[in-house]
């Protein structure tokens, strides 16, 4: 993994990137939110403290998906009416990236499928609607309105400028799933799979008192 060092425009501390394509990161010392434009680094705000959570995953956790090793480099924490969940940004050793979702200790790995999202308006979404991606039938199960509860580490896009997000969750008859993300003008499609904790072969996880 390439590590490119830069300087925090706010405090001058060295800022390293574990994933070379990261767009946003947080300065580990002054907690500035830093967005990278080619060679420049811009400070766009300050990270708020993440609310306490009990995910066993943390920045630096390593794991495996389809026999490929990944490293957790960032996270977005979302909050919605019934609780919250984490989207851990994971970087694979071959330079690709994906997301490891952890919702009440249910784990799923997904990847962005560029230019594959159907042209649907979020207002036209309905539970039970059927979509076809990559020869698989997906049924829309839930529509979730969420907002950022916080973020940390390196992300492939900037969180600046987003207040409320709309997600449509789609399921197959087995563990495959897809998410339509309506955060931007054009919906974005993520496709992935739910998997049991043991299959992720996670290392460097958090420890829990009494366990």
């Amino acid at each position: 993994m390439t590590e490119r060092a830069a300087q925090c425009p706010s405090c001058g501390a060295p800022v390293r990137f574990a994933w070379s394509s990261a767009v946003q990161t947080a300065c580990p010392y002054c907690h500035s939110i830093l967005v990278r434009h080619d060679v420049d680094i811009e400070r766009v705000g300050e990270v708020a403290d993440l609310p306490p959570d009990a995910s066993p995953i943390q920045i630096g956790t390593e794991g495996q998906f389809d026999s490929k090793n990944f490293l957790v480099v960032g996270r977005i924490r979302y909050v919605w009416a019934q609780g919250n969940w984490n989207e851990w940004h994971i970087a694979f050793s071959d330079g690709t990236n994906g997301w490891l979702a952890d919702a009440q200790l249910t784990y799923a790995v997904s990847f962005l499928l560029p230019n594959m999202a159907p042209a649907v308006s979020p207002d036209a979404l309905q539970a039970g609607q059927v979509f076809n991606f990559q020869n698989e039938k997906y049924v829309l199960t839930t529509i979730t309105r969420a907002s950022y509860a916080g973020f940390e580490g390196e992300l492939p896009f900037t969180t600046a400028g987003h207040e409320e997000m709309l997600f449509a969750d789609l399921r197959t008859t087995d563990a495959q799933f897809a998410t339509l993300d309506f955060s931007d003008a054009q919906p974005v499609l993520y496709v992935g799979r739910e998997l049991p904790y043991d299959e992720l072969k996670l290392k460097n996880v958090r420890l829990f008192e009494g366990w």
């Binding site: 590590e3 390293r16 990137f17 574990a18 580990p28 993440l50 609310p51 306490p52 959570d53 009990a54 066993p56 943390q58 920045i59 630096g60 490293l71 480099v73 019934q82 609780g83 009440q104 200790l105 249910t106 799923a108 539970a127 049924v139 199960t141 839930t142 940390e152 580490g153 390196e154 399921r171 197959t172 008859t173 087995d174 563990a175 495959q176 799933f177 739910e194 049991p196 904790y197 043991d198 996880v205 958090r206 420890l207 829990f208 008192e209 009494g210 366990w211």
Partner: protein, 423 residues
């Protein structure tokens, strides 16, 4: 690796909270996952997701149910330890009767949440199902397919949460209602629960009470299992298969025995002949002889059958004449057939040496003036056949009984479903 680790290495357990209603101490075991906790003293439901600790609702003291698995105890399933952190009683009404079952919420900080359900002493180990099963039909009824298994619809109902204890990672309300549909593929069960805009599927597997007790290291006996539960694996199919397979194996052995007997002593017919007695008017018919037959080996005894279709045919006395030695042996009558339309006499000979023989028939003197026509057969009976078939009949009893029990188990399984027989 770059970037400091943001979280402390060991996540501390949550401190007990004070119940905003009664001030009692409420222990928390689910770390930051807990959203609702129940005060064990006053049964208030407390929203732990915000520091205000708002009371959501309260359960009536008279609804209190004592769980058989204590909160805070741990059991091992598939080598993974889970702690009991929540307990709820759910009730459904059918034909005016309330049916309640218990649900234990199990927690492991890495593996997540599982459930143990208990109804009438029958347990299921349950987890949330990834994916949505495909709708299907099975013999005209609803079914659901997932993971390569077809689950048959068992029942539809509405369940109300009538009591809770401990803590939950979701918002719990007293009297919360869900619509549920259960689908079965024993020992598996699929449950679909629908409530305000949300559909959840879960998958359970039947687990014996003794195994739950073992998982938790409990002494004593688990609650007694009553009746047959929807997805309880039937103990019979395997037993029935075994019994039928035993039956077929034994039958083969028996058939071997039968063949052996057949080989040693096969039945054989030595003579079959029709003989008419036509006395001249007013005179008695003389004794008549059949044609002769040869015995090449000594015989332990032959059967001689005399049959007529004429009920008025004169009664006879039968003898066996040895043509070689001119010895005549009077045959013993062993059986007499019906007299309605003719009759049949069975005679049995003693031991016979090889030689040439014929049957001699002599009409009874007082009936000798009448005419008659007879069919005569001389044969050696195959030995053993009767009792071998009889034994086979006895061998049939265990597999037939087991098959009937298996079918009555299935009837009982479906009796409480939406498709059950009687009331």
């Amino acid at each position: 690796m770059s970037g400091p680790v943001a979280e402390p290495p060991v996540v501390k357990g949550a401190k007990p909270i004070a119940c905003p209603n009664c001030g009692g101490s409420v222990e928390l075991r689910g770390f930051a996952h807990t959203r609702t906790a129940v005060c064990i003293q006053c049964l208030s439901l407390i929203d732990t997701s915000s520091p205000e600790l708002q009371i959501l609702s309260r359960f009536d003291e008279k609804m209190r149910v004592r769980p058989v698995l204590a909160l805070g105890t741990r059991g091992k399933f598939g080598g993974i330890a889970f702690e009991v952190i929540g307990f709820q009683v759910r009730t459904t009404w059918s034909d005016g009767l309330a049916y309640s079952w218990h649900e234990y919420l199990l927690f492991n900080p890495y593996e997540g949440f599982r459930y143990l359900t208990l109804y009438n002493g029958h347990w299921n180990f349950v987890r949330a199902l990834p994916g949505v099963p495909a709708p299907a039909s099975y013999s005209g009824r609803k079914a659901a397919i997932t993971g390569g298994l077809t689950y048959r619809h068992y029942q539809h109902g509405e369940a109300t949460t009538t009591f809770v204890m401990g803590e939950f990672p979701w918002a719990v309300q007293a009297g919360e209602q869900v619509e549920f549909d259960d689908f079965i593929a024993p020992p598996h069960v699929l449950s679909r629960e629908a409530s305000a805009g949300e559909i959840n599927w879960s998958a359970g597997e039947y687990i014996a009470g003794a195994d739950v007790w073992k998982a938790f290291g409990l002494s004593g006996e688990p609650p007694r299992a009553d009746g047959v539960s929807p997805n309880q694996p039937s103990p019979y199919p395997q037993k029935v298969r075994q019994l039928w397979s035993d039956f077929f194996k034994l039958s083969l052995v028996w058939l071997g025995v039968l063949l052996l007997f057949h080989f040693i002593s096969t039945g054989k017919q030595f003579l079959s002949e029709t003989l008419a007695m036509t006395p001249e008017a007013g005179t008695a018919a003389p004794a008549a002889f059949t044609g002769s037959f040869d015995l090449k080996e000594p015989e332990s005894g032959l059967t001689v059958e005399v049959k007529t279709s004429d009920s008025d045919a004169p009664a006879l006395q039968a003898s066996l004449v040895n043509r070689s030695s001119s010895n005549t042996e009077r045959l013993a009558l062993v059986d007499q057939g019906p007299k309605s339309s003719g009759w049949r006499d069975l005679y049995r000979s003693g031991e016979l040496r090889p030689g040439t023989y014929a049957v001699r028939l002599e009409p009874e003197p007082q009936e000798a003036k009448r005419a008659g026509s007879y069919e005569i057969k001389v044969r050696r009976e195959a030995k053993g056949a009767g009792w071998v078939w009889f034994a086979l009949f006895f061998l049939l009893i265990p597999p037939v009984l087991a098959s009937r029990r298996a079918s009555s188990f299935e009837t009982q399984r479906w009796s409480e479903s939406d498709y059950g027989g009687g009331a």
